[in-house]
């Protein structure tokens, strides 16, 4: 039998005690992994709103809320803005919401939609040629025709949530719309929405020639901040700009907080886990005092005894890592499967660094928790250990 198999075998001698230590550490690992998967997913979602091709600047009516809904701006501004220095392209969008009561007849799914805050669906009107400015580069199927009055495309999350696909129809504002395509941008907000021709939405919501926001794409060499300041100074008291970067920055700041919290939890887990492991391993060494005396009598070096106890401690925490990770992954998946409203917002991340971090935590707990008991075992006097009853 190799030394390694001996080390792996030993923690199973006292199964209850080892299991308790493993459960304690596994809970910590589970929290670290689950939080990491969720925040990681949110991060990549905000990151994808910053992707190339999409508009860098959103201009809104000064004084309107940050999301911008309803027709608050005159459509003519869309062309006016093109003459501003550094602006490459612009698109006017109209945002509207349709409540779930009228959307309950949606799709083939008989269950009541619980989608989005307050059960409302976000509908955006945009020129089909400008879809790339909201980050929609590829449409699965085809985009709507600008002149049509009954064509829409829908985001992947919305499609999955409502069990809809290309060719289905859904009822909005009392009218049937045909789904000509679906898309996926990676942004959880965009992917949960419906897009249709601007003029159609303007008609339906009585917002003729009115838009909610203007999306601005800057020229390749232009500085986004400079361009957005140019726009604001050209239209004082009329347009207020936000940059995608700033928005993402704000979201990331919030996520950064969760990140810090998750590190704090990791540290706490290391601490609590290490205390548990120290306790478990000291008990184990104490019980095996005579045995350690025998190992010394047959010629084992102090280093080997230290290595054995330390190894056993690391084996415990690595089992906890595996158990905790599996529970976290399965738990997050179950949560998403049985709660579509959550799955619309969260796409869990399986990034390697999340698991690497949890592994590091587990390993550190093993080393820190095992070091002292291992040292004690290695320093036992052989005669004292052999006399131990």
């Amino acid at each position: 039998m190799s030394f390694l198999s001996l080390v792996v075998k030993n923690p199973f001698r006292n199964k209850t005690r080892s299991a308790l230590a493993i459960v304690g550490i596994a809970i910590g690992i589970m929290v670290i992994v689950a939080l990491g998967m969720v925040t990681g997913g949110l991060k990549s979602s905000t990151q994808s709103t910053l992707k190339a091709g999409a508009a860098e600047i959103t201009a809104l009516q000064t004084g309107s809320n940050s999301f911008g809904s309803g027709g608050t701006l005159n459509e003519s501004l869309v062309n006016d803005l093109l003459s501003t220095n550094g602006v490459k392209d612009t698109a006017g969008i109209l945002r509207a919401t349709n409540t779930s009561s009228s959307a309950s007849s949606l799709g083939s799914n008989s269950s009541q939609s619980s989608f989005g805050p307050g059960g409302s669906i976000s509908i955006t009107g945009i020129d089909s040629g400008k879809l790339s400015l909201v980050g929609i580069d590829n449409v699965n199927g085809s985009a709507f025709n600008n002149g049509s009055t009954d064509e829409i495309i829908i985001g992947k999350t919305f499609a999955q949530d409502q069990n809809l696909t290309v060719g289905n129809t859904i009822n909005l504002y009392g009218k049937d719309f045909k789904i000509t395509g679906t898309f996926e941008t990676g942004s959880f907000i965009t992917d949960a929405g419906i897009y249709m021709p601007l003029s159609t939405l303007q008609n339906l919501t009585s917002n003729d020639n009115k838009i909610s926001a203007i999306l601005v794409k800057v020229t390749d060499n232009a500085n986004v901040t400079t361009v957005s300041q140019n726009i604001e100074s050209s239209y004082p008291n009329q347009l207020t700009t936000t940059t995608a970067e700033a928005t993402a920055g704000r979201i990331n700041q919030g996520l950064g907080f969760i990140d810090t919290a998750s590190w704090a939890i990791s540290l706490l887990a290391i601490f609590i886990g290490a205390v548990g492991v120290i306790n478990t391993m000291i008990m184990s060494v104490y019980e095996r005092t005579r045995e350690i005396g025998v190992l010394k009598a047959v010629g084992w070096t102090d280093k080997r005894i230290l290595g054995m106890i330390l190894g056993e401690s690391i084996v415990l925490t690595l089992i906890a890592f595996v158990v905790g990770t599996i529970i976290a992954v399965v738990g997050v998946e179950i949560l998403l499967t049985y709660s579509p409203s959550v799955s619309g917002i969260i796409k869990p991340s399986f990034a390697l660094d999340i698991f690497a971090r949890a592994f590091l935590v587990a390993f550190l707990v093993g080393v820190i928790g095992g070091l002292y008991p291992a040292y004690r075992a290695s320093r036992l006097s052989p005669t004292e250990a052999l006399r131990y009853e």
């Binding site: 039998m1 190799s2 030394f3 001996l6 075998k9 030993n10 199973f12 001698r13 005579r290 045995e291 005396g293 025998v294 190992l295 010394k296 009598a297 047959v298 010629g299 084992w300 070096t301 102090d302 080997r304 006097s381 052989p382 005669t383 052999l386």
Partner: protein, 228 residues
């Protein structure tokens, strides 16, 4: 005296415990020839176990001379290497590791050698055959009788080809019939493997099976007689 012939040389060896209040060894002298089988007897507390522990380098003496297998134990720093290569212990209690199988227990001392897993297994099996336990190699020690456990302990003691077997009351926890089997086995293997055997015992009939009988009293050698 020929040094190569004497595997143990002890002169005026002293060891005290409890800040000098207990003189466990009080100037003991003992010389053992290579391949000899000697038994050590004496009343409880006389220092017999302490003497064995000194020979096996489980503890260090306070003063005196102790050379075992050519190594000066008062000077060497590599005590574990010495124990691993030169000494095999058999204790009164078998001291086997309960979660390991019989053969794994016998392999334990070989981790400090260069042997790989299959060499370890091969050697352990060889010894378990010579103690008639080849049918129980995968058993856990808890399933064995006292005599069988002690046979495993003997196999473990011999596995690294030691020059000396130190047995501290190896039959102490066995009934006399089983004790006799163990004793005969030790005697047989000592001849077969050409290893020196030093055995502590309380029972005169056991002590009388040796080639030489040393009695210890108050940390000193009292008598030393050749039996055969």
């Amino acid at each position: 005296m020929n040094n190569t012939e004497n595997v143990i040389e002890i002169k005026n060896l002293k060891k005290s415990y409890d800040h000098g209040n207990i003189k466990a060894l009080n100037g003991i002298d003992l010389t053992v020839k290579k391949g000899e089988f000697i038994s050590i007897m004496g009343p409880s507390g006389a220092g017999k176990s302490t003497l064995l522990n000194m020979i096996g380098a489980l503890d260090t003496a306070d003063e005196g001379i102790i050379k075992v297998a050519g190594i000066d134990l008062m000077k060497t720093k590599k005590l574990n290497q010495f124990r691993s290569q030169e000494i095999g212990f058999v204790f009164q209690m078998h001291n086997l590791i309960p979660n390991l199988s019989v053969i794994e227990n016998v392999e334990i001392p070989m981790y400090e050698t260069n042997a790989n897993s299959s060499e370890m297994r091969e050697r352990a099996l060889e010894l378990l055959k010579s103690v008639n336990l080849e049918k129980k190699i995968e058993q856990k020690p808890t399933k064995l009788s006292g005599g069988e456990r002690q046979r495993v302990a003997i196999a473990r003691a011999l596995v690294n080809h030691p020059s000396i077997i130190l047995a501290d009351e190896p039959t102490g926890s066995l009934d006399s019939k089983t004790g006799e089997v163990i004793l005969n086995l030790l005697k047989e293997l000592h001849t077969q493997e050409n290893v020196t055997l030093v055995m502590v015992t309380h029972e005169p009939y056991v002590g009388n099976m040796a080639e030489r009988l040393v009695t210890v009293l108050d940390g000193k050698c009292k008598t030393d007689e050749k039996l055969r």
